[in-house]
């Protein structure tokens, strides 16, 4: 097998430490979260492990959620380092990336099954206060999960 073949069929090693119940809970929390906005402002959301595997996603194509999980894990880890370097804490609580047409928010979750990350994609029409309020509720509920 050559490298090109390896790329088309990557060994998709999914984390086994996260059980189906937790995945289902994460999925239902994300769906509730997205539905709260009735299709206005919030495009989609994904919860991932800190090493970049998706745990659950809502309103997001799977390929996008998988890619965003890996990227969010890198950004989140670098965010934690920056926070520690400057002395503003041990972990970041939220990283905001603003694009021309929308936002990506990345939040840390200290879940007992292992640390995780919540990533949210939103448009410029999103009500940011409301979004952050419900996002933090998802974080809190996942922390207790």
């Amino acid at each position: 097998m050559n490298a090109a073949a390896a790329r088309t069929a990557p060994p998709r090693s999914s984390p086994k430490s996260i059980d189906d119940d937790l995945r289902a809970k994460a999925k239902s929390l994300l769906e509730q979260f997205v539905n709260q906005f009735g299709g206005v402002g919030v495009w989609g959301a994904v919860i991932s492990t800190v090493d970049g595997f998706d745990v659950a996603m809502a309103s997001m194509p799977e390929a996008e959620g998988t890619k965003l999980s890996a990227m969010a894990s890198s950004i989140s880890a670098i965010g934690d380092m920056a926070v520690q370097e400057v002395g503003t804490g041990k972990y970041h609580q939220c990283i905001t990336i603003e694009g021309a047409d929308g936002y990506i928010f990345i939040l840390n979750i200290s879940c007992s099954a292992g640390p995780m990350i919540l990533s949210i994609a939103a448009s410029k029409e999103a009500m940011l206060g409301k979004l952050m309020y419900y996002a933090r509720q998802v974080v809190e509920k996942m922390t207790k999960a």
């Binding site: 097998m1 800190v50 970049g52 890996a70 894990s73 380092m81």
Partner: protein
């Protein structure tokens, strides 16, 4: 002060973070997090980048960047490759198909390897097991890529310095 950027890439668990830790003069910046992937055989894995520094005499300094190993972080490979003057590819000999691992990094970093310096390092080498060191060299020849292929223990500072020497020799001859 002249500064050169060197990147350490290669298969997961091959010792990229360890290699930088072995030689860095500053406490290395690390972004290793708890791994949820039971197939890689370790608790922590780099998801962002590693960063360390080492001086060469009074006038030169190497900035050492380590990449994540897994291909899902290939976007970090592209980011970290920018402006690099040399690449060290570490291959863990104990993984199921080390030649396939090597092929992945040769493919992704081929532009950098062609234009700059490269050393391929086989780590955790079990000498009685195939592929042998010459199999890796032969594999490189088939890919028409010319660079040193060595085995090393990256926990040992002297051996990592030797890897850097092999890179620097190539960088000087290319200048």
């Amino acid at each position: 002060m002249i500064e050169h950027k060197i990147i350490f890439t290669g298969s997961v668990g091959a010792g990229k973070t360890t290699a930088i830790q072995s030689i860095s003069e500053i406490p290395p910046v690390r972004t290793d997090v708890l791994s949820s992937d039971l197939t890689i055989g370790k608790d922590m894995t780099t998801v962002g980048l590693d960063y360390g520094e080492i001086s060469l005499g009074e006038t030169e300094r190497l900035r050492l960047y380590g990449t994540p190993g897994q291909e899902r972080f290939a976007f970090m490979w592209r980011i970290l490759a920018q402006g690099a003057l040399g690449v060290v590819i570490l291959v863990d000999h104990t993984r199921p198909d080390p030649l396939l691992d090597l092929a992945l990094y040769l493919d992704h970093f081929k532009a950098l390897i062609r234009e700059t310096a490269c050393v391929v390092v086989i780590s955790k080498m079990v000498e009685s097991h195939s592929p042998l060191l010459e199999d890796f060299s032969e594999f490189m020849r088939q890919k028409q890529m010319v660079c040193p292929v060595i085995q090393a223990d990256v926990r040992d500072r002297e051996q990592v310095l030797w890897i850097l020497d092999l890179l620097l020799v190539q960088m000087e001859t290319r200048q």
